[in-house]
Subunit: 273 residues, 2 copies
């Protein structure tokens, strides 16, 4: 798989954490771009992947077989750009950044996909780890990337997803450096949110996931850790993009990594206990 | 929807709780029938629904859109009768009882489906509330139906599932009478097992779910409650059978209500925290 260049994205605005979801979507619709880490705190964020209807069963099965990286929050009917997760939203315009894929290769990175939309596209909204960052912050776990005003670090791992039909590819992870004394809270809080990736898939030596250098993420920004921090890895909703790169469907649209769809759903709705 | 007759099923055997999953499947393969409530304690039980490949996307989407009644544990490739949940199992023979459906009508209730199998069948294994009964028993919650050697009571509710493609139908529930002092434990324990229906969908007055008479379940057996018991309702994996009755796909195979597939998976694998 080609390593894509990571480019630094500033957080959107000092006040982005307080934007309502509708306000955030409206700003993105008018062209604002950037990582949504910390945006609209307390509201559920989602990864987007839209594929032709002919590929929808393979994608839904891929998600069912790989629920840690691909927890499905909603699936649209073919051609529809609306979702039950945000009544007034338009999936073609309301994300800060998109990627358009042709035969597994990145073709374009527009800020809307009005010109790329097709009537046969089925859109999958997949849980995002930004969703649990509010819970982690409230539990006292420092969020280094937000403190440093950066996108989260994301990596391709050596673990393969369970294939589904024509779709296969590696599992991706996001990484957050966590001080040892906060590790129990980080695991406990995220375990209760399985719809947004749940508990970490791995902690510690990145070599165990086949990651060579934490300072060179495959997506997002490098994030500085404190000396005692433990790298904690959660399954990542960019995994379907890696499956697109590996499996080469003729066409797909995704969000740009870190530039998520902000839903009206509250994080609490996805807490199991 | 036609109310199907419920018929009393004895629990299988005084020792069924201690059967290994392979032993249980072997007995069912040789013709033993009965409710699997309490069988192979600590191992995950599953509902079965097999539909023609042409209906598989609608079924998978129906499950995604209705995760409380239809939490998917595995989906087979078309025509396959094996599952990752039990390496040596044959889905055509290893359940105690099956139902064969033609155009939404019950056509037959055989103890194996070797003669009914088709190369285009995609099989869905869906979490079953029998799975959390071990955890409830260990937490001190009495399981009235097991004490009374009966199948659990199941009811059609007035709540409609979110439709998916051609599939629609009501949500079904299983009911367990729970003493008030055990209600917190019952809710807490099941909340941590979302893959087997998770927390209850409703407690108390059955009229709120459109259930007229608890003594007349739509599936399974009536179960006697103690005077102070609160009826607690969990979403039920027989819901896809109700969707088959309502939506009339040309062909389907399911388990017989209460006569589940015993997997090799341990309940613990599905506990989120």
């Amino acid at each position: 798989m080609n390593r894509t260049q990571h480019r630094s994205l500033n957080l959107l605005d000092d006040h982005a954490h307080a934007w309502s979801p509708a306000e955030a979507r409206s700003r993105f619709r008018s062209g604002v771009s950037g990582s949504t880490a910390g945006c609209s705190a307390g509201h559920t964020q989602a990864n987007l992947i839209s594929v032709p209807a002919d590929w929808a069963y393979d994608m839904l099965l891929f998600c069912q077989r790989n629920p840690k990286p691909c927890p499905v929050l909603d699936v649209t009917d073919a051609g529809s750009w609306t979702t039950v997760l945000a009544g007034d939203a338009d999936l073609r315009t309301d994300l800060p950044g998109y990627r358009v894929w042709e035969h597994g290769a990145l073709a374009e990175e527009p800020t809307d996909v009005l010109a790329h939309w097709r009537d046969d596209l089925v859109s999958f909204l997949i849980g995002c780890s930004f969703t649990f960052e509010s819970a982690l912050s409230e539990a006292g776990v420092p969020m280094r990337h937000i403190e440093q005003r950066r996108n989260v670090s994301m990596y391709v791992t050596s673990r393969q997803c369970r294939p589904a039909g024509r779709l296969h590819g590696p599992m991706l992870v996001s990484m957050r450096p966590v001080p040892p004394e906060h590790l129990p809270a980080a695991i406990r809080e995220t375990s209760l949110l399985p719809a947004v990736h749940g508990s970490p898939v791995y902690c510690g030596d990145p070599g165990g996931l086949g990651i060579e250098d934490l300072a060179r993420p495959d997506f997002g920004d490098p994030v500085d850790a404190e000396p005692d921090d433990i790298p904690v890895f959660w399954a990542c909703g960019v995994t379907p993009q890696a499956a697109v790169m590996a499996s080469r469907p003729p066409f797909a649209i995704t969000h740009a990594p870190g530039q998520m769809f902000i839903t009206d759903a509250r994080d609490e709705q996805y807490r199991v206990a």
